[in-house]
């Protein structure tokens, strides 16, 4: 009797300890989300103070959409987090960066983020077959995002459908750009005191312009740190839920695959986590390329939640534009999936390219290296050069 009591009590203690830890972790997540909102507001506020009415002129170099695309691609490839880059873009739009300039940057962030799972797949290089499967399952995401840019960027440059659709939606949500969100925005009273304190403290030490630039830098660093920690915490907290969702998806079709990819990305707040976790499973031959494909597309959609969350932090004259750019991100990714995945000839391009490249990379590893440095760094640079040469 005594034995049974003593053996039963440690698990109970562990349970209560775990639930206590879990509650603490959730409180920490809530605090980090608050910090994210503060950071986005800091960028907006700092950018507005630093640039004033010159925001458009300040980003005149990015008037060329290819430059914007390259900035988004390289920044995300270096920071290794599209959520961080899209949140920064939302913050910049909140400070006056024109949406037209920000759209190619958002598209570039989509390309840049796909380098992460490609790097992860390189770890399987020692086994030829495993490497082939892992590399193909990673690069299918890259090829999809590249194809999406090839289709949508020229259309956007010519007719601005994403900007118009998102503008129309954000007008519907916040009642038009001319109308202030003050009445609806309950975030501002929560974030403004912190931002004012930071700005006032910096104004004592630095000149007004330097203080504003420091606020922007602090905001960028804070976003990066917060998103990193949120990701780490959510991975711990949500792994059980992610398992449940994945179990339910087994044996079902691509629509479920897309949904599950989106849901898991929302749960862990990182598309790279979602697209990377599937790489070793594909490498081991447990999941086929056809099963991985819709799952990674879902990750593209799920990752949009961070920019939307960031947009809720914005108030003032540019709040409608901040929401508009967050919606551009969402519409772009949803349309990409609808257009490319529903048209068989387009749908077949990413898996074919991924398989071809993986076969070549197994034969000669230099192909893999050339691909990564080419797609994420060299070709973007060439794009700027050629477009400047053509005067686009």
């Amino acid at each position: 009797m005594t034995t049974s009591t003593s053996t039963a009590s440690p698990p109970l203690e562990n349970d209560s300890e775990n639930s206590g830890n879990s509650i603490l972790n959730w409180i920490l997540v809530a605090f980090l989300v608050y910090l994210l909102l503060v950071a986005v507001s800091m960028i907006g506020s700092g950018f507005k103070a630093a640039a004033g009415d010159q925001a458009k002129e300040l980003f005149a170099f990015a008037n060329n959409p290819f430059t914007g695309l390259v900035i988004g691609t390289i920044a995300t490839a270096l920071i290794q987090s599209s959520s961080t880059v899209t949140s920064i873009i939302v913050g910049l739009v909140a400070g006056g960066l024109p949406v037209t300039i920000a759209i190619p940057m958002i598209m570039g962030a989509n390309i840049g983020t796909s380098v992460t799972n490609t790097l992860v797949s390189l770890g399987h290089v020692r086994d030829g077959n495993e490497f082939k499967r892992a590399f193909a399952s990673a690069t299918i995401h890259d090829f999809f995002n590249l194809l999406s840019v090839v289709i949508f960027l020229p259309i956007e440059i010519m007719f601005h459908p994403l900007e118009k659709m998102a503008g129309w939606m954000s007008s519907g949500l916040v009642g038009g750009q001319s109308m202030s969100m003050k009445g609806l925005n309950f975030i501002k009273p929560l974030t403004k005191p912190v931002i004012n304190t930071v700005e006032n403290s910096l104004n004592i030490v630095f000149s007004e312009k330097l203080a504003a630039i420091t606020v922007i830098i602090l905001g960028i660093v804070l976003i990066f740190v917060v998103i990193t920690f949120i990701g780490k915490l959510l991975k711990k907290l949500m792994v059980g839920k992610a398992k449940d969702v994945l179990h339910k998806a087994i044996g079902r079709g691509p629509i479920t695959g897309i949904t599950v990819g989106a849901v898991i990305t929302i749960l862990v707040q990182s598309s790279s986590t979602t697209t990377s976790l599937i790489v070793p499973l594909a490498g081991a031959g447990l999941f086929t390329l056809a099963q991985v494909y819709p799952f990674t597309l879902g990750a593209n959609i799920g990752t949009c939640i961070t920019a939307l969350l960031a947009a809720t932090a914005v108030s003032g004259e540019y709040s409608g534009f901040a929401l508009q750019i967050a919606l551009v991100h969402l519409i772009y990714n949803v349309l990409g999936v609808i257009v490319i995945y529903s048209i068989p000839i387009l749908r077949s391009i990413p898996p074919k390219c991924a398989e071809l490249l993986a076969t070549a990379a197994v034969k000669n590893k230099l192909y893999a290296l050339a691909y990564i440095s080419g797609v994420f760094f060299i070709i973007p640079g060439m794009l700027i050069f050629i477009s400047n040469l053509l005067g686009i």
Partner: protein, 71 residues
Amino acid sequence: MSENNSNIQELETKIAELRKSLNELEGNLEKAREGEQHEAINHLEDYINEVDTKFSSFQIFWKTLLEDLRK
């Protein structure tokens, strides 16, 4: 003629039986694959941090590439 007919019927029956067996085998294979997938998902903790291996993965790749080039 009737012998030929019975031969055809016999072959058709055999094909139908084989097809049924093949379908059953394919169903079993699918179930076995799904079982492996469920088993892997049960160990999701091992894969969810895979994203943090990007630098070590690149190091492994770089080392292997250099070894190959030296050969």
